[in-house]
């Protein structure tokens, strides 16, 4: 079995994020770049599926030069090889273009499954896996809290607002996973050393057969008109509990007509 895992380098989840004044794009320089947390679950799921069924895991990432750290991290967790789509013309691509790049990187390489995290913690759109499924014409099995493979069939539990749905399809399929699916492993020292020797293929947009005019910021199909920091909240009242803290909150709720 051949499984692709798509990972994205994002600013550290615990850092404050902001848009750059000049071009209204996310300031990625001011925070450490880390593997999108939800993608760690995708890598773990791919590794577990391969450990149980045999095969190989290829990690795919689109991002600037330094995103190679994120590809390396997936390799040190145990993925076998990497594809890094790195090209200045891709900067500022919207989800529509990103999905085109990812679909091209997947196409024609014999993957049975491609696994994503269910969203990135920077843009938080949750649309790229569905867009990639649409582009490839593959089955979409997303928001999985459980993935099972048997023969050429893959079955997931799709998390819904009131429980889960069981969804089944023949491979190849696009899967995305939620954070409760597994516990991602930490790269071992051995894994980190081994990762240095694993092959990573670097590709440009042109090498993927994409027209430069259809990707990047200038080709985006949506644009930011303006943005501003939310006005700071007026300071509230803070009291220290002297045995009547609960009553005081109730009084506050009453003045605000909540009770």
């Amino acid at each position: 079995m051949k499984v692709a895992v798509c990972v994205k380098q994002v600013p550290d989840t615990w850092a404050e994020k902001r848009l750059r004044e000049a071009d209204a794009r996310l300031d990625r320089e001011s925070a450490d770049g880390v593997m999108n947390e939800l993608d760690e679950y995708a890598v773990e799921e791919a590794l577990q599926l391969i450990e149980a069924n045999g095969g190989e895991v290829v990690v795919i990432s689109m991002g600037p030069e330094r995103a190679s750290e994120t590809v390396r991290k997936a390799l040190s967790m145990g993925a076998d090889a990497g594809i890094h789509v790195v090209d200045d013309t891709l900067g500022g691509s919207d989800a529509v273009a990103t999905s085109a790049v990812i679909a091209k990187a997947i196409e024609g390489r014999g993957f049975d499954l491609v696994i994503f995290g269910s969203e990135s913690t920077d843009a938080r759109m949750s649309v790229v896996p569905a867009m990639v499924a649409e582009r490839l014409g593959w089955a979409q099995l997303t928001f999985a809290q459980k993935v099972e493979i048997s023969g050429g069939e893959v079955s997931i539990e799709r998390v819904t607002e009131n429980g889960f749905a069981t969804v089944t399809a023949a491979t190849p399929a696009v899967v995305s996973v939620v954070e409760k699916i597994n516990e991602p492993r930490y790269p071992s020292f051995k894994g980190i050393m081994a990762a240095k020797k694993k092959p990573v293929e670097s590709l440009t947009a042109a090498e993927l057969g994409l027209d430069a005019a259809t990707v990047g910021a200038a080709a985006a199909w949506s644009a930011v008109n303006d943005f501003a920091a939310r006005p700071p909240k007026a300071a509230g009242t803070v009291v220290t509990d002297e045995g009547d803290g609960g009553v005081k909150v109730a009084e506050f709720l009453a003045t605000q007509k909540f009770i």
Binding site: D94, A130, G236, A250
Partner: protein
């Protein structure tokens, strides 16, 4: 005025509140037309859609559309986009909604904006307002190519009735082969109490690290139940296994924007603030006076939640009896 397509979100045949919010928003852009994807629309559902201004209700009621996830809604919408050239397509910001919107954007060759908290018309341009980075930044965006496909966050727009008589128009749709590739073979309902759904609740009561244990959450639940509130939890609490993951509020969990948010024993790391910062009124109970969550508080108590919260629960019960 042109048509504005609104994808209906329903549960067991009942129109969800988020749909009435979307119809309200759609009226600012043009004439709302509801799009119902699924078998069996009831008279009650038709009436609700009419009450909030849907002059037309497109019904794709073929049994097949409910057998496959996401893709059928995208294909129905794409077909209608080609047919009626709408001003915009509004979709609820649920997992299903966002994914359907994503697929629609590809099919229709359209730009997409997700998680709008408002939509307005500026001349003939549809402008979406987003509240990003946990509400710290307000962004105005426009789709520049194709029909604007916009997902709208629940609880962001107050629904206002504008009654009309909704006319039903049946849509016959032939699903692509790709849309039929994934099949839903069953539904399993989560065990749930009578509490409102987290992202739709008017009041959310949350617990964090300070709650200390799974048992400790009974104090949080008791307060939630006196207020008719949903229960939320910080990542620290869900990671520790004290409360189920599906109730996590924060960057890696749900984003909520209720009228009232009560944070108990939650320090307020950016991870959590990103999921609740836009709540209208925020009450904080925490032992640590230095906890950053107090910066967001409209009202805060520095104290032990295990004495403050039960007292508050009791006081609310007393006042409402």
């Amino acid at each position: 005025m042109g048509e504005v397509l609104v994808l209906v979100d329903e549960v067991d045949g009942t129109v969800k509140k988020s749909t009435t919010e979307l119809l309200t928003a759609a009226r600012r852009l043009g004439n709302p037309s509801a799009v119902w994807v699924g078998p069996g629309i009831s008279d009650a559902a038709m009436a609700t859609l009419g009450e909030f201004g849907a002059t037309k209700v497109y019904v794709a009621g073929d049994a097949d559309v409910a057998k496959h996830p996401v893709a059928p809604a995208a294909e129905v919408l794409a077909q209608l986009v080609a047919q009626v050239s709408p001003v915009a397509v509004l979709v609820p910001s649920t997992a299903d909604g966002k994914e359907a919107a994503g697929r629609l954007a590809i099919r229709a060759g359209a730009g997409i904006i997700t998680d709008a908290v408002d939509v307005t018309l500026d001349g003939d341009r549809v402008v979406a307002t987003q509240s990003v980075f946990g509400g710290s930044t307000i962004v105005h965006s426009t789709v520049t190519h194709g029909v604007p496909v916009i997902t709208v966050r629940g609880n962001a727009i107050a629904p206002e009735a504008a009654p009309v008589t909704a006319t039903r128009e049946d849509v016959s749709v032939s699903l692509s082969e790709a849309a039929r590739k994934a099949t839903i073979t069953g539904h399993t309902a989560a065990v749930k109490g009578g509490r409102p759904e987290l992202t739709e609740a008017q009041v959310v009561v949350s617990g964090g690290r300070g709650v200390g244990s799974a048992e400790g959450f009974s104090v949080i639940e008791a307060l939630a139940d006196t207020l008719g509130a949903a229960v939320g939890a910080s990542r620290a609490a869900t990671d520790a296994g004290w409360y189920p993951h599906q109730y996590q509020v924060g960057q890696t969990g749900k984003t909520v924007s209720p009228q009232l948010y009560i944070a108990n024993g939650i320090s307020g790391a950016i991870q959590h603030r990103a999921g609740m910062q836009t709540s209208k009124t925020i009450v904080v109970v925490n032992k640590d006076a230095e906890a950053p969550i107090f910066e967001l508080a409209d009202y805060g108590v520095v104290g032990d939640l295990f004495s403050v919260v039960p007292q508050l629960t009791q006081e609310i019960a007393k006042r409402s009896s």
